[in-house]
């Protein structure tokens, strides 16, 4: 019994210690931001790694999610004779929820895990130490540009996801199932609000981008510098980001759409 309590206690202490390290890390990254922003070339390279390489999976997933929404939404709405509202259903689901959330989850799987592995391996192969000894701060040179790139890329990816999804739903609803084209768009435009829906969706994806980049970079920077340690850190990135994004989504939704 005492052994069990002790193990629990040790785990708890370890958890809070890591939490503290994570926040200190964040503060140091934020402090390094001005220096990183002064060098847009580094940012462009990271936007490529984080954004462009995630684009394909975002586009394809967005299309399929939109098509499924079109199909499911139609089947439900047609029972009430309200299939004209399909555009509203598809657009609201995507803009408010699925766009920011699913693209954040995909971002964690594609870009987040890659960031963790990259930073972890740089640590394991002494590249970060090497930089420090060359009087180059790895937080400024390596971490901060990646953080900014994640923050910038996330809302753009979510917006692309939503738009591709709306057209996917349109393709299924209007193209295949015969919903009226005019009704699809006009109902959507009447119901989707720029501030309440679009703007709040963008805010959500900004928050998710912040959290996903933070977790990914911290896990890499804090990884045990061995191949096994980096592997574990990569898994943790995906799991923790998924949990954080879903949990935060609930909180943000509660705050935004009372």
């Amino acid at each position: 019994m005492t052994a069990w309590l002790q193990r629990l206690g040790r785990r708890g202490i370890g958890f809070f210690e890591r939490l503290g390290r994570g926040h200190l890390f964040l503060l140091r990254v934020l402090a390094a931001l001005p220096a990183a922003l002064a060098r847009p070339r580094l940012l462009v390279a990271q936007l490529h790694a984080v954004g462009v390489r995630t684009l394909l999976i975002i586009g394809v997933s967005g299309l399929f999610v939109g098509m499924v929404l079109g199909l499911q939404g139609y089947n439900t709405l047609v029972d009430f004779g309200a299939e004209e509202s399909l555009g509203v259903v598809v657009a609201l689901s995507l803009v408010r929820e699925l766009g920011p959330v699913v693209s954040a989850l995909l971002f964690a799987g594609r870009a987040g895990s890659a960031l963790t592995a990259e930073i972890g391996l740089m640590k394991a192969t002494e590249q970060l130490s090497g930089m420090e000894m060359m009087a180059v701060d790895p937080l400024e040179r390596v971490v901060a540009p990646r953080f900014v790139a994640g923050l910038v890329a996330m809302p753009l990816l979510a917006a692309i996801f939503s738009v591709v999804g709306v057209y996917g739903g349109w393709f299924v609803g209007v193209g295949l199932l015969g919903v009226d084209d005019g009704a699809f768009w006009s109902q959507m435009q009447a119901q989707v609000d720029l501030h309440d829906d679009v703007y709040n969706g963008v805010v959500k994806s900004l928050v998710f981008g912040f959290v996903a980049s933070w977790i990914a970079l911290f896990e890499g920077y804090d990884a045990v510098p061995t191949s096994e340690g980096v592997g574990r850190a990569t898994t943790r990135t995906v799991v923790h980001t998924a949990l954080a994004v879903l949990g935060l989504d609930f909180v943000l939704t509660a705050l935004m759409f009372e």
């Binding site: 753009l156 939503s162 679009v198």
Partner: protein, 157 residues
């Protein structure tokens, strides 16, 4: 250097696509252009009961959207709900005896404010109050009244 060029082009395309998507969300999905009542004039109407009316609900005339509800208050002196509406500048000649009622879109749809123009020569201006109003129909009350009248009618027979 060729490699940096392709990277830069790809990033440029990505950012352009992302901003384009945001633009589509704003213009096509939510239609910011359809009704911009930022520069409009305000009308006020008092109701006994606003039912489920919400801020940002549409204001229509003859089925055409002309504005939005911007605020709902309660007047503690007169015990009435006060609804503030912002109406598009283009529709600036509603007669002074225009009436406002709170209607429901469909059987279970959202509630909105419907205006019914009157016949006076004077027009409503910014900040004016609509005198003739009809409160929201509250389903429970209607059913209650219906049952009551039925019962009363039955008793008289």
């Amino acid at each position: 250097m060729v490699q940096t060029r392709t990277v830069e082009i790809a990033v440029g395309a990505f950012v352009a696509a992302g901003l384009g998507a945001l633009f589509v969300l704003a213009m096509k999905v939510s239609s910011i252009g359809a009704l911009d009542v930022a520069d409009g004039y305000e009308l006020v109407a008092r109701f006994d009961n606003v039912g489920g009316l919400k801020v940002r609900a549409p204001v229509t005339v003859g089925g055409v959207k002309v504005g939005r509800v911007v605020a709902i208050d309660y007047d503690m002196d007169r015990y009435e709900a006060v609804v503030h509406m912002r109406i598009d500048r283009r529709y600036d000649r509603f007669p002074a005896d225009t009436s406002a009622s709170i209607l429901t879109a469909g059987l279970l749809g959202e509630q909105y404010v419907g205006l019914e123009p009157g016949g006076e020569e004077r027009y409503l201006g910014d900040g004016d109050e609509i005198r003739l109003t009809q409160s929201a129909l509250v389903l429970e009350k209607i059913i209650g009244q219906f049952l009551y009248s039925k019962a009363a009618g039955g008793g008289a027979k």
